[in-house]
Symmetry: C2
Subunit: 349 residues, 2 copies
């Protein structure tokens, strides 16, 4: 099948998300363009059902970003780039397309970065530009994996929150990239997967990726992470990031701040894995990061079933901000950087 | 109806859990004895359905404790006392009954305390002894409410974890008792209700109690508690306890440790509300507290639906231990005590 990337099918490196489908094992990306349309893994259907959706217009792409069919900051960036490519191919107003795509989610820096990059390339071929952007994300993720894998040893017990895997990053992952690289290098280690309420991306997506990859893991309630850290049963935490400020404060999925404070309390190294594009040097600190408030139904219902009494309301911040003081290091495609040591990244940016 | 406690029906004080049923508003206890049987609110059916179950033998009581039809340390204590009363009334072997009832849950100190108390009263009328025990729990809870309510001010934003309410304590509550007293005194305040995965006792039971009581509240994912604390939007945390060691370390529902560390990080006062019977002065510290590991299905499924990929496993510790250094004070029926200042309690014990 043309739209499934197989080893050697036009890419210089094999893509790396292993998926067990009815057809056997396939290696896929989270999102890809093929002719006049884009195909994406429908992340809302996982882990019960593996299916893909076709996207033919930029408003459809905006909808797919907004309703979280595609999610994760780098995948959102690639989706935004492909959305601009669809608009360009159809001869649409690119400024209007940029506006619509940017209005989908407020927090992910990659979204704005990718749209602006496509606007700056509007004189050229935006399909090629979007493909190059997506390929670049994958290459970056692989580098993140190589730099980060040195932190994982035989016997390590790693904890992660939410899904910063291949699904979230076109391929390979950010927080999960070091684990993929370490696993393929033959290291034996164990991963605690925070289930990550309210949307359960850990229980649903990270567990699904680790299972497909063959990495030993167990899902835990978010409430149990601190318990295992306090007992010396966690050696390392690796999470992703949606936006990183100049001082090292960063936004990520709600609950990340809790795990970071708990890691500090127990002396557990806490790493953030993210491409350089996630850094937003226009922000001095995390206090400038806008936090998206999502529907209270994400808390009040699970799988369509109400878990709460009728009449009780919920509050549902989708992200939180973790202060730089809790971070041991940022694993990027350029290496591992401590907060306050970003000068090399600023030059690259 | 005889088995529903109404104002003045043989109790010197009105019971205080307000329940809206088809019959209108009723005031009930979580568990009560009436003739040859015990009736309990089925806490597994809440909040969708309000129903009670009848318990006629001590093995049925052991089952109700084990499967969490009744839950919460003080309610478990009363249930255990009633179970011993049922055994006594039926002329059963009390030592065997004690053994069976004690084998149901490993963590709640009240369970062992109540069974041993009944054994020490075996020469007398164990029905009367069990009734006195349950009444004593309610009286203690009301005192806890009175002492704790002084901590809540007009405009306070209080956070609680799990359910330490009337359902958990026969009536009135421990952590929720100060809120009931403050509310009835006319104070206006707001409660963040941690949903409390994996069993969701916050979203299901605490929200249900606050809704019935008319106290303003919102359910939040456990992951969001730290976010609100870090932003200065929480003034006070009050939780219950299942067992408190001599040094002030205490066991409570999984996730309590996380909230305590986060409260300390943000300078938010953190209080533990529990009757003196919850203290276990035979334990020097929290490291001696046995942590129950419950079925992984509580994490992998919600409401009978799998939320995780088939093939992924889970780990599910039911409790954690919070160190005394995180606790601002223990709200008991004898007043509020700081960790390290328990001499008055030891004398009473």
């Amino acid at each position: 099948m043309v739209h499934r990337f197989m080893y050697g099918c036009g890419y210089t490196e094999p893509t790396n998300m292993r998926v067990r489908t009815k057809a056997g094992r396939e290696d896929l990306r989270a999102i890809w363009m093929d002719g006049d349309s884009v195909t994406a893994i429908d992340q809302r259907a996982l882990p019960q059902k593996f299916k893909t959706i076709g996207i033919r217009t930029y408003p459809e792409m905006a909808e797919a970003i907004s309703n979280m069919t595609v999610r994760g900051a780098p995948t959102i960036g690639a989706a935004a780039a492909y959305g601009m490519a669809l608009a360009w191919k159809a001869g649409e107003d690119l400024d209007e397309a940029a506006k619509v795509i940017k209005a989908t989610r407020p927090t992910a820096h990659d979204l704005f970065y990718a749209v602006d990059l496509m606007l700056s390339r509007r004189k050229g071929d935006l399909v090629k530009a979007a493909e190059a952007y997506a390929d670049g994300v994958v290459t970056m993720c692989k580098s993140i994996g190589e730099h980060g894998s040195t932190l994982i040893e035989d016997g390590s017990r790693v904890l992660t929150h939410c899904n910063a895997g291949a699904l979230a990053t076109v391929d390979f992952g950010t927080a999960l990239a070091p684990m993929r690289v370490a696993h393929r290098a033959g290291k034996k280690f164990f991963v605690y997967v925070d289930e990550t309420r309210p949307r359960l991306q850990g229980a649903k997506l990270t567990a699904w990726e680790l299972l497909n990859e063959g990495i030993d893991h167990a899902i835990i309630a978010d409430n149990a992470a601190g318990h295992y850290m306090s007992r010396g049963q966690v050696d390392l935490v690796i999470v992703g990031a949606d936006r990183i400020a100049s001082n090292g404060d960063f936004a990520n999925k709600i609950g990340t701040y809790e795990k970071a404070v708990l890691a500090k309390e127990s002396g557990v190294p806490f790493y953030v894995a993210a491409p350089v594009s996630t850094f937003d040097f226009s922000l001095a600190s995390g206090s400038g990061i806008i936090i998206e408030e999502r529907s209270q139904d994400e808390v009040l219902f699970v799988g369509g079933r109400r878990i709460s009494p009728e009449g009780s309301r919920a509050m549902n911040p989708a992200f939180d901000v973790t202060p730089a003081r809790c971070v041991s290091g940022f694993i990027t495609e350029m290496g591992v950087f401590r907060p306050g040591d970003f000068s090399a990244l600023v030059r690259r940016h």
